[in-house]
Symmetry: C2
Subunit: 308 residues, 2 copies
């Protein structure tokens, strides 16, 4: 690892933020109504809690928190923005797992939400988490300046929307031949939209909250794009090289679908080489921050070399 942070220190930091994120989400997902709300139905909040509490590395909130730390943004504010991002991530997993989409029974080693409840509850829990994210990200506690919160809110909507994550999921299904002939698949474009857009948002969130210079914003943007691609290639490699117990979900799914991935395109060695190049890119982007970039540097290496 090229950063000044040991793997063990990084792991502690990641765990700490995951615990804090869990506590924030726990509070946000109570069934107590907010002002302007009628009582939230318990069945719905239970479903949302099932799919968003009790697990996960919380990588996206971690990126928000650590990109914010570069600019001295208060941790509580970053955690709240991170929780909003995590709500979007969790909703996307719920909807992606539905029988009408990827039809997955297992997620993080547990039955998926629609298996423990039903498809209707799962659809609504996803809709609820997506909507809640925009309730959270607009709150006063996220930033004193409403103009900053607005920028952040719009960036989140763009990252999650049809030119980002939602569009990427559609392209991913199209690439599996779900809507007829699959045609040529642009793996990089699918990655940038489906998984890259939210990860990139996590990285630029700190720059937005910290009202960073254009140069610093662009550095985090470049870092976030490299990290996002490395994340997806690592994912494709895990699907080939890992086993279901370690991964917490079935492996070999891509091959079973005859799916085009970074691994089918570049081969295993080529994919690993590409990850190394991306890590060099990420390091270079962060160089402008000096030692303030250490944790983010470690995060890119962690993402690229993770085991699940």
């Amino acid at each position: 690892m090229t950063s000044g942070l040991s793997s063990a220190d990084f792991a502690i930091r990641l765990d700490t933020t995951a615990d804090e994120t869990e506590a924030v989400l726990e509070k946000l997902l109570s069934d107590a109504p907010l002002p302007d709300e009628i009582a939230r139905p318990r069945r719905l909040t239970d479903a949302m809690r099932y799919s968003s509490l009790g697990g996960g590395k919380r990588l996206r909130p971690f990126l928000v928190v650590e990109s914010s730390a570069v600019f001295g943004v208060p941790r509580e504010a970053a955690l709240l923005a991170g929780a909003a991002l995590e709500c979007i991530h969790c909703y996307s997993l719920i909807h992606d797992d539905l029988p009408a989409m990827d039809n997955s029974d297992l997620r993080r080693g547990r039955p998926t939400l629609h298996k423990t409840t039903d498809d209707a509850t799962a659809i609504l829990a996803g809709d609820g988490l997506l909507t809640l994210a925009f309730d959270i990200i607009t709150r006063d506690e996220v930033h004193d300046d409403p103009a900053v919160r607005l920028l952040l809110t719009r960036a989140l909507a763009r990252a999650a929307g049809i030119g980002g994550m939602v569009g990427g999921q559609l392209l991913d299904l199209a690439g599996e031949g779900r809507f007829g002939d699959r045609g040529p698949v642009d793996v990089a474009r699918v990655q940038q939209m489906k998984t890259g857009a939210l990860l990139r948002f996590g990285c630029i969130a700190g720059a937005l909250l910290g009202q960073a210079s254009q140069k610093d914003y662009q550095a985090l943007d470049a870092y976030g794009r490299a990290l996002g691609e490395a994340f997806q290639i690592a994912d494709d490699l895990l699907d080939v090289e890992s086993d279901a117990a370690a991964l917490g979900k079935p492996t070999g799914a891509d091959a079973a679908l005859g799916k085009t991935t970074f691994v089918t395109q570049l081969g295993i060695d080529g994919a690993k080489k590409r990850v190394r190049d991306l890590l060099a890119k990420a390091d270079e982007a962060l160089s402008v921050f000096g030692s303030r970039g250490d944790v983010l540097r470690a995060a890119a290496h962690f993402v690229a070399n993770r085991k699940n």
Copy 2:
């Protein structure tokens, strides 16, 4: 009608706003990417267009436009906020129509989206419209003051969320016995959440955009609540008294499900009496605006007496 506006004049006004809303939505739902987006997939924008263009009374945008007109808010700004609200409404129809939810084949006299495409595309088109709403409502053109746009954004998230529309849909399904014993059904609560929250948002949106006094805000809030309940009772009455051709969707659906509605609770005559009381309430709430409330007064009467 107690207002100073004839039915014919009201109908022209409603049509004009519907046309303008259509034009705004048409622009927003192109497949041209926005800044911070990669290209939007055509299949997805086509699906979103299918379900949000070419029809509908556009009642919710109309309420935004007319509540805004009371305070002299520029029409272009109100139309944009109205389009965001309409995106939420259209997404909710797409998801509600899914086989996993209400399993409806017909909507506005046309096949529902999942019938013309597939469930996956319909889920994603709904997610895309929901997310796009928050992209739209945060735009600079909605209001000069970011603090006002934030208030509006958060109010929209609350209205659409688990303490509003999404929660109401879950309660509605629960009331059909979809999750086991149906238990006692609180018809008024389901209405306030499922259909009332968005209609109410349309009515208070003008007060928020116009930075109205607390007193004027509360007047529109009271008006919006009365209009929302009248809307739902009229809906329940139409399900009993109308025919499918006039309604553009099957009638008698509530009875077939053995559903508790305002009509089963109050009887047809009782329901009609309740609508008259609600119209008096709406009129009274608007009295503070004098003749500036004429169009909104006519809107309540239109909603209560509509034929589809």
